[in-house]
Structure formats: C-alpha cells, structure tokens
C-alpha cells in the first residue's frame, strides 16, 4: 500500500526540501471506495500515501514503522475500533497529528474529535483542496515541539546546574515535582525527543511514552520475573506490547532501578534517622556526598551516553536562562563542574547519576515506600544527583522534565498513592537570579508539604507536600533561585495530576529529577500562583517518578508505608541539609521513563 513518492526513503525521512511534498500520510477508513478516492487525491498532492481498512491494522503499522508517518487521517466510524479511540492511541503513542473524517458533521461529533485531540475534522465528501493543506498540521506541531523542547531544555538545564550546587536541598522530598498533566506530557516528551527541533521539518523521533498503564505492565512484568532476575528482554516478552523495543525497556528498567534504589535508601535513612533531624542528616551528608560524587561522575558518563531523549544538548547550552546564571552565582560551593555536567548532559544526566547511586535492588515493595519517604525522607532524598555531593543541591533544582505521564499527585493523597512526578520544569526559569532571596523566603514560607494540588489547580498536583519540600530551606542562603525559575513555568507544564505526586514522591529517581522534585515543590508554588511553595531551591528533588510509576510505587510495602506520614513533610525538611549526594534517585526525565 505504500506508495513511494519521490522521496523515496521509504519511510525514513519525512521530508526533504520539497516539503510538503512527500508528506507521509496514513489513511484509515473501512469504506473501500473512500479509501481509493483519498489515496488518489493525496497522491495528487504529491504525498506519500499508505492506506488501511482497519483501525487495528493502522495502529500496528504505526507501531511497526515508528517515525514512518507524518500524519494520520482516519474515519470516525470503523467496525473494529472507534475512530476516537484510534485517535487517542495515536496521540499517546506516536504523537502524530490526526485528522478525523466523517459524513456526519454534527457539532457534538466534531467537538468530540477535537476533545480527543484531532487536529482537524473533515466532512465527507472531502474535496481535494482540503487535503492539500493538511501539511500545515504537521508543520505546526513541529514548531511547537521545537519551542517546547527549547523551553524545557532550558529549564532542565537550570535545574541541573542548580542541583549541583545544592545537595542538601535536593534531598527534599518530592515536593510535588512538576505536575505535568498528561497532555503536556505528550508535548514534553516530544520535545525532548526531538532534538532536531530546530528544523521543524526534520524527522520527529518517536519516543516511547511510558504512560501509566504501560508502566504498570512493565512493573507487573518485572515483579513476575523477579526483580533480581529481570532483564529487558524478559520484561519485553512478558509485557506483550508490540511496539515496544528492548531498548525502550532497558532504559526504562534502568530508571526504575534507580528509583527503587532511591526508595530503599530513603527508607533506610528514615529508619535510621527516625525523625530526620537535620543534624543527623547533615552528618550523613558526607556519606551522601560521596555517593553523590560517585554518582555524579557516573552520571556524566551515563548521560553522555544515553539519553537521547534528553533533548538537545545544543539547545540546552544555547538556552540562556538567567536563572541558570543566577544559580551559578548562588551556588557558590558548587563546583562549576556540576553545572556543566548538567548542561552537557542531557537531562538524563541527573537521572543517570541517580541511577547509579541507587544501585539498589529494591523489591517492588519499595515502591510503595517511595511515597513514604517522600515524606519522611531524610537524606534519602538526595536527589540531586547532578550536584556533586557538596553541592548537592541546594540549588539543584529538580529538573522538571515533564514526563508524559507524570502527574504529581498531591501529597495529600495516601502515601501510597503518591505519584512522584518528576516533571522537569521545562520552563525557562530565566529569571531571577535572586534565588537566594527566594530561598530564604521559601524557607520561611511554608514548610508544609507541598500540596501543590491544593494550590494550583492546574498545575498539577504537586501536592503541597511537594511544594513544601521545596520549601524547606535547605540551605540557608542557598542558592537556589530555582524557585524563581519555576515561576515561569507555565502551568500547563506543571499540571500534574494527582498521580504525579505519587510519582514524585516515589520516584524521584534521577538526579535531575530529584532536584526537580524538590524544586518542583517550590517551583510549583511559584507557578501558579497558587503554589506557594516557598521557593525552595531545588534542593528537594522529589522523586521524579512519573505517574506511571506511581502505581508501582504503591507496592504495598507495609514497612515503608508506615513510615510515611501522610505528608507531614517534616521529614522533608531534612532534605535540605543533606548534601545528598547526587541523585540517588534516578531522574526520570520527562515523563516517566520515557525512552
């Protein structure tokens, strides 16, 4: 069915200079007559057309040929699957623009299409001229992605640098890392993936979005196999998700391990600290630092390696975030190295480091404890993997990488359900270098758990607990202007749902995330106005666990659960002190485990 047009790279490169010619269109319609007509019309527009008579077939095709299509046109009424459902799937998994068609032009139907994410709704009979312009949807999307990526990259960068500077702050609990709504998630994910966003017509990488249900499958598979025996291949086989690759799973697994390790650590810390006194924590710091260091180093290594998705390094570097600069200043102790790392690395760096640090194989049960330790976390929250141990994080602002699925659940929810979202704030925090002030302010501000949720509606629910986490002034005088930066984060980005909170609590895994988490809290506050989480400087690195992980986090680990006070965030306070080294918590960039 595929007709090759001039472009002939088959499915590979979507466009050449001839854009929109060569646009790769997938047409889905159970009506053979229309399918034939549309195919002919699209070919006349010089597009590359593939036809499908069934929705399932279309989905399989899309999954098989990742990045093989630029746009999908689908009829609303199909026998095997509702067109709206297909629309959702495509948006979720591939994030391609989808145009709906129908002979029925009833407003309610059209509205439904738009609500489900259709970028256009055409009425049959369809005219050629309507098809000629569909390329605009593709272009528009890419442009937005580029913008988003740049934006997010900037934010991440800011966080990364911050993290480096202030370790202790990072530790803070998941103050509701970025609550990014699911929707945003999509964007975010895309953004990170598209490194080349500078050129809208460049190929868009199809990334794996680790949605909640996908992650759950993953966790289930891991549990089934036995955490100690897991391997990407085994997991992949068990999951039974056709379009997922071993590579996707491997990277996700890595993050997951980090997350678990972090949880474990927190748990341990909690246990040992009891009340998480700062002093105690402080003492721990040294240890942490070491770890951090190691992790940090590793991070760098790791990061450089992997995260493709992290976005464009170039972009990062180019992003001129004032905050970043400001952070640098604030973070006196922070060795510049850290920030650099952060900058260079992809966002994934933090994660990596956290991963490294984690290295703990926690049983899944631990997941549940994530939440808990979000609240109780003493040192464990050394999320700021990025930050070198010393620096950890005061400044390390959690990198909010909005993960697609990360929803930040307000910490108010059961500990078990806390989803840590670690959404890296993509917003260019540019702002005010006066983080110091902010920090201080924050410190006093509320130490309450960042129940972002309550605060910000939109933003996601970084539960106040999360916010609070940030608040804990991790370091006096620290640095972080992170908070400030967050402010600018558009609420859209931060809209985390409740789920995310869990994730944040549970998962801040990568260093980035952790830093984010903490900062998230603060930042969130700033965002929406509602959040008033003091501007913590990103010390808190909430577990950046995407929403997906939330579920897994609730592994009913009784032990852990008990530890977690419902968002009492007192424990969060300690975070600041800890120089938590480096992100013990795998930083899950963008959206949970998005590979």
């Amino acid at each position: 069915m595929m007709m090759t047009m001039e472009n002939n790279n088959g499915f590979s490169s979507p466009r050449s200079d001839a854009f929109p010619a060569g646009l790769r269109v997938l047409v889905v319609d159970d009506d053979p007559t229309w399918l034939k007509i549309l195919e002919k019309m699209l070919k006349k527009c010089s597009y590359e057309v593939t036809t499908c008579g069934l929705a399932r077939e279309a989905l399989n095709l899309l999954r098989e040929r990742k990045d093989g299509f630029d746009i999908v046109i689908s009829d609303v009424n199909m026998p095997d699957m509702d067109g709206f459902k297909l629309l959702e799937h495509v948006g979720l998994e591939m994030d391609l623009p989808v145009i709906m068609m129908s002979v029925d032009g009833e407003t309610s139907r059209v509205m439904k299409g738009v609500q489900h994410g259709a970028c256009d709704y055409l009425l049959k009979p369809i005219r050629m001229k309507e098809l000629r312009n569909i390329w605009q949807h593709v272009l528009r999307k890419r442009i937005h992605e580029v913008r988003d990526i740049e934006f997010h990259e900037g934010i991440d960068e800011i966080y990364m640098t911050r993290n480096g500077s202030d370790k202790s702050e990072d530790r803070h609990l998941p103050s509701g890392t970025d609550p990014i709504s699911g929707k945003k998630r999509k964007d975010v994910d895309n953004k990170h993936d598209d490194r080349e966003c500078n050129d809208p017509s460049s190929v868009k990488k199809v990334r794996v979005v680790w949605a909640v249900d996908l992650h759950q499958k993953f966790v289930k598979a891991v549990n089934q196999i036995g955490f100690d025996k897991v391997g990407p291949k085994k997991i992949l086989d068990l999951m039974g998700v056709p379009w997922l690759t071993r590579e996707n799973v491997a990277s996700h697994l890595q993050k997951y391990r980090l997350y678990l390790g972090r949880l474990q650590k927190e748990k341990e810390l909690t246990a040992s600290f009891g009340g998480m006194k700062q002093s105690d924590i402080t003492s721990k710091e040294p240890n942490g630092n070491h770890c951090l260091q190691n992790s940090v180093n590793k991070q760098c290594d790791l990061t450089s390696g992997n995260h493709g998705t992290q976005g464009n390094k170039t972009i990062l570097q180019n992003v001129d975030f004032k905050m970043h600069e400001g952070d640098m200043k604030c973070i006196a102790p922070m060795p510049m190295a850290e920030p650099k790392k952060a900058m260079n690395g992809d966002n994934s760096d933090p994660q990596k480091s956290s991963n490294k640090k984690m290295g703990v194989n926690h049983s899944f049960g631990q997941l549940g404890s994530d939440l808990q330790y979000a609240t109780t976390v003493p040192k464990q929250y050394s999320w700021n993997e990025e930050c070198s141990e010393t620096q950890m994080n005061r400044e390390c602002k959690p990198h909010f990488r909005p993960k697609s699925v990360f929803n930040a659940l307000p910490l108010t929810t059961l500990p078990q359900n806390i989803q840590l979202d670690y959404i890296r704030p993509r917003l260019p925090l540019n702002s005010r270098p006066s983080s110091l002030e902010r920090d201080n302010k924050l410190a006093e501000a509320d130490m309450m758990p960042a129940y972002m949720k309550s605060r910000s509606q939109g933003i996601g629910q970084l539960s106040p607990a999360e916010c609070k986490a940030d608040r804990f002034p991790v370091q006096p005088g620290s640095k972080s202007t992170n908070v400030q930066g967050l402010k600018s984060i558009p609420s859209a980005v931060w809209s985390m749902n409740n789920h995310s909170l869990d994730q944040i609590l549970g998962g801040c895994s990568e260093s980035e995330d952790t830093s984010l988490n903490m900062t998230c809290g603060t930042e969130f506050a700033s965002w929406d106005g509602n959040l008033q989480c003091g501007s913590l400087q990103g010390d808190f690195q909430p577990l950046n666990v995407g929403p997906e992980t939330v579920e897994s986090f609730n592994y009913g680990n009784p032990e852990l659960t008990s530890e977690v006070p419902t968002f009492s965030y007192d424990s969060l306070k300690f975070d600041f002190e800890y120089p938590f080294d480096s992100m013990e918590y795998p930083v899950i960039d963008q959206g949970l485990f998005i590979t």
Partner: protein
C-alpha cells in the same frame, strides 16, 4: 466525427445526470479530475467499487429490517455507512434517501424506514444502470471523454 459525437453524447449524459439530481456535480467532477494517465478509468473503478461494497451494506440492512422488533441503532449504523459511501461518488438521490432513513431510525418509525429503504434501493439501481451506460460510452470514446476538462 463519430468520436466527437460520441463525446458530445457522453457529455450530455453526464449533464443530465447532474440535472436530474442523480449525481452531485461537484463530487463527480472531482472524481473525474483525479483521472489521469496512471488511472485512466479511475471514475469507473470507483463507482464499481462502490456498488460492490454497497451490496453488502444493503444486504445487512435488509436482514436487519426483517427482524422484529427493529434494532434502530444498528440500522442507523448501517445507513450511516452507506451514506458515507454514497457520498464518495456523489450519488445524490441515494444519499438523501439514506438521510431520510436515518431520520426514521431516530424516531423509531419502522414503517418509514422500510418504505424509505425500498425507495433507496430503487434509486440506487437506477443510478447504477445510468452510470453503466455512461461508462460504456466513455470507454468507447477514449480517455479524453472522461476528463471534464483538458488536462
């Protein structure tokens, strides 16, 4: 010339199909515009495809109409499908009958449905015949005839 005459005849036929409301002018012309060297008989192929596919849908509706009580939701679904299909070739009268049918489905008027359906089948058969003749002539006249305007 015989050829020209033929062409003229074909043109007239087509025009009368439009005038009599059998075919939607815009849609049909558009189909003809899609015809090119790669697909010289594109319109005929599409129409053939439509009729072949619609047989199935009509059968489904017929069977559903024999049931008692009538499942209006199902009937509406089938007709929706048929309506979409018929719009592809610009089958005007057929399309309006199907709209009518759906209206009856919405209010649960079984008699109205059955009556309309009979009408629809008649119109569908009538158009099919006319188009068959049209295409016969067109094939005789050569590809030029089918184009509605010079390429």
């Amino acid at each position: 010339m015989e050829r020209n005459q033929l062409r003229r005849q074909i043109g007239n036929m087509r025009q009368s199909l439009f005038d009599q409301g059998y075919l939607d002018h815009e849609q049909f012309i558009q189909l003809e515009e899609l015809q090119d060297d790669a697909n010289p008989n594109f319109v005929e192929e599409v129409v053939t495809l439509f009729y072949r596919d619609s047989v199935r849908t009509i059968q489904n509706i017929e069977q559903a109409l024999e049931k008692s009580p009538l499942d209006f939701v199902k009937l509406d679904g089938y007709m929706h499908q048929f309506k979409g299909s018929s719009s592809s070739i610009g089958a005007k009268k057929v399309k309006s009958e199907s709209t009518q049918f759906r209206e009856y489905c919405k209010v649960g008027n079984a008699e109205g449905c059955r009556r309309t359906f009979q009408q629809l089948k008649k119109e569908n058969a009538a158009l099919k015949k006319k188009l068959e003749v049209y295409f016969q002539y067109s094939r005789q006249a050569g590809p030029l005839e089918t184009a509605c305007r010079p390429n």
